[in-house]
Amino acid sequence: MQFPNDKKGKRVAYYGLCIALAFVLSYLESLLPVFTGVPGVKLGLTNLVVLVALYRMKVYDALFINVVRIILVGLTFGNGYSFLYSLAGGIFSFVVMVILYRSKKFGSVGVSVSGGVAHNFAQIAVAMLIMETHALLFYLPVLILSGTMAGVLVGILSGQIVKRLPRDL
């Protein structure tokens, strides 16, 4: 029996694969101990999947995977407002990453670093809105630093993954 060369089916399969992977990485990251007393400091492993999707699929594929991932994780591991934080962080960092990616002036590390920092910026902004306090602004330097470091790591990793994947998924 032979399957027809079904492009749509292929895409659905890749969506499923990527979302499952992002989902598992989100879970993995929730198992990691919290290193610091600053809320929002994290590795951002799921950004690996988003970056690879951005480089090897189309922009809207990556956006779709990212949004479904955020909703799924919010429904399972999240508690109420954590969903709002991750949605704000996820969407804003995605927009920034797409701009840098499209500019063609940055490699995966630059795109990833901008995404990490943008993610933390958006989360702090939402937290300040919800809690109506400026005190959180004092976490910004730490969050810029952690976003940059995590971004470099994830950027290098995703660059290596993209290099080893076939040209068109």
Partner: protein, 123 residues
């Protein structure tokens, strides 16, 4: 994979972070009061020079236990899943804060002369 612009961008962020640290450091002062808000509303102002343990009711019915001891404030217990506020440790300097995102509790250290202003706001 790594372009020159990537390194420049990362360096820029690191400089920004360092500048931020320095700016914050220059504002550091020992505080004398802790101002606690829940969901943006003032819940109470507690003096740092009086020892005490307080239970703060959070936005969703959860609680945080705040301890003031030796002029420092810390959270010793909370019924939220991550317990981040407990891990934040002790704070005593002006504008330092302990935050509990799930319960929307912010405990912020402030200066003596700010107390009057906060009392006015709480009315």
């Amino acid at each position: 994979m790594i372009k020159r612009n990537d390194i420049l961008l990362a360096a820029l962020f690191l400089i920004l972070a360092a500048a931020g640290f320095f700016i914050i450091q220059s504002f550091v002062k020992e505080g004398s009061y802790v101002r606690v808000t829940v969901d943006g509303a003032l819940q109470g102002v507690y003096p740092l020079d009086a020892e005490g343990t307080y239970t703060i009711k959070g936005y969703d019915g959860g609680y945080n236990t705040m301890v003031i001891s030796n002029g420092q404030v810390s959270f010793s217990e909370a019924d939220c899943p991550d317990g981040l506020c407990v891990k934040m440790g002790q704070k005593s300097q002006v504008n330092e804060s302990i935050v509990c995102l799930p319960h929307r509790v912010v405990a912020e250290v402030c200066e003596a002369d700010e107390k009057a202003e906060f009392d006015a706001v709480s009315k």
